[in-house]
Symmetry: C2
Subunit: 369 residues, 2 copies
Amino acid sequence: MNRQHVVQALLEKAHVHVNGSQPGDIQVHHDRFYDRILTEGSLGLGESYIEGWWDANQLDEFFFKFHLAQLDKAVRDKRLILNALKARLFNMQNQRRSTRVAHQHYDLSNEFYEQMLGPHMQYTCAYWRGTKDLAEAQEHKLDLICRKLQLKKGERILELGCGWGGFAHFAASNYGCSVVAYNISEQQVAYARRWCAGLPVDIRLMDYREATGEFDKVAAIGICEHVGYKNYRTLMEVAHRTVKPHGLFLLHSIGNNASVTTGDPWFDKYIFPGGMLPSVAQLSAAMDGLFVMEDWHNFGPDYDRTLLAWQSNVDEHRRQWQSTFDERFSRMWRYYLLSLAGAFRARTIHLWQIVMSKRGLIGGYETVR
Amino acid sequence: MNRQHVVQALLEKAHVHVNGSQPGDIQVHHDRFYDRILTEGSLGLGESYIEGWWDANQLDEFFFKFHLAQLDKAVRDKRLILNALKARLFNMQNQRRSTRVAHQHYDLSNEFYEQMLGPHMQYTCAYWRGTKDLAEAQEHKLDLICRKLQLKKGERILELGCGWGGFAHFAASNYGCSVVAYNISEQQVAYARRWCAGLPVDIRLMDYREATGEFDKVAAIGICEHVGYKNYRTLMEVAHRTVKPHGLFLLHSIGNNASVTTGDPWFDKYIFPGGMLPSVAQLSAAMDGLFVMEDWHNFGPDYDRTLLAWQSNVDEHRRQWQSTFDERFSRMWRYYLLSLAGAFRARTIHLWQIVMSKRGLIGGYETVR
């Protein structure tokens, strides 16, 4: 059986047809596509997409089928082993290396992100309960976090990794809290400082590991995916040393079905260098003896909808960015957003909010949804 | 400082006074009490209570203060080390040993349990939302489990460890399901078979590890505390091999703040031989790669109320049992129920319901409370 037949047989297992008319079907424009998938795995799949060797009727639906059939396991790159070894030998997320992520990804044009993410500049999963509007769904998410943290007027909040300051702004404006936030992306910090001007919000251009002080509540929203598996415990320790004895810590993170010590090679190269997704087991081991787990919420399918909304926003403003970002960038970005959407839809990855207390809230913690 | 002063200083740390009038205060009737606590730790504390060496104004409140001040760590028996070693060298929960628990504890008079537990014969935590009545709270718990498992008419349910058949009876009567249940206590099995007669319920006097077949949903309610840390993975594997690809598994268990490989020596000797409480980390490691964690609910404070209700029922029927159970048994039982109530109140231990799916429910899992 030649390579084309091998790949097509794999795709048929996932009910994906070459040149078919179903949403998850693909068109192959270059004969070497099949060879490349077999030799380069997930990296080759992504790179050949960027290069225009293939297209899908609906890329998210292709990846949904791809993950449902567990083809991600079939095309795992041999490079993964090397990556895993590298991750074990070196701490890829020491403070110097972390800034690479900040530059490569978060220091892209703020205007581009404003258009993609909407008015709250939330670069994490929205919460779609009761709405079909991205801006509202992001407000729901922000409010969900505030309600889960039981924020009260006058409380001091620590935020580890604060993006463009959307949560800090929301908690200060809507709940009357003061916020100290840590972030290592210069562009994000500058933006957050402007946005939160006049509010009791202190944005620090510093690594989360440098956080000091004592706070009523601690939030870590979308940072855990960047810290690397060697630092899950560190993240918990930072939260533990900074939260008051009767305080609460909320961790909002994408999660993985199984424990890994390396990220996907395509995402590592093109989107989030050094990023990887924690498992329930890894986060639980990291919190063992430090925190009481009060509530663990899994709403991954909301990220599917969020990613589709982002892609739709990007498509809407496409013409404006044609001279800044070339076709390769545009395809890369689409692959990034829609391959993730498909993975969330197939439940290969998840969105978790975990509420933790230091000693357990007396009387118990009431679930908030 | 003599031993009496050492112990009193520890108790003062927990705001417990000897001969005081506060609910958590104690009366010491025997001078050797202090010596015994220091040399025999938690086992000595419990045994000396059985023997009438000391009393508390409110035993549950004493244990609440005791745990809040983390005195449980201070009086940990040296014997623990030996127990831990024993647990590591031998599998204390092989199938032969497991029957010891069944005989020592669950084969006590059914009538006694009926009076203590109420009409649903539920020997696990009730769910008190919207009620102050134990029977109603147990119905709420049973219904909560059925709703979390999304039971539908005609579905086949597997229950691993079924007590007196209360859940099997409830699911068959109220949700139109058929149930196959495994239990190794002869008295419980005989009772469950009588109770569920005429319903599509098959109660098997067999170890949970022998379960076979394929089921829409699997429930394990209050068995995990008995299986021992070496079998957490086994329990998950049994559920994994018996649940359908799109099915759900609900685990209802008491949980521990930290990972341990041995039980409390007093509880091991008097109440549940070989029992121990899993941590979030231990259960997460056990489910890693097998299940998708859909929802993790912590409502430990409901067990505090449940235990108080059980003790109140025991007190109410005390006279009837005076000739069967002597004063020692009565004190032992009170110590068992109320020391646990205090530990739940202090959030040293928890009640977890974890909903797991095999591959992730497409569309997501809606939280039920």
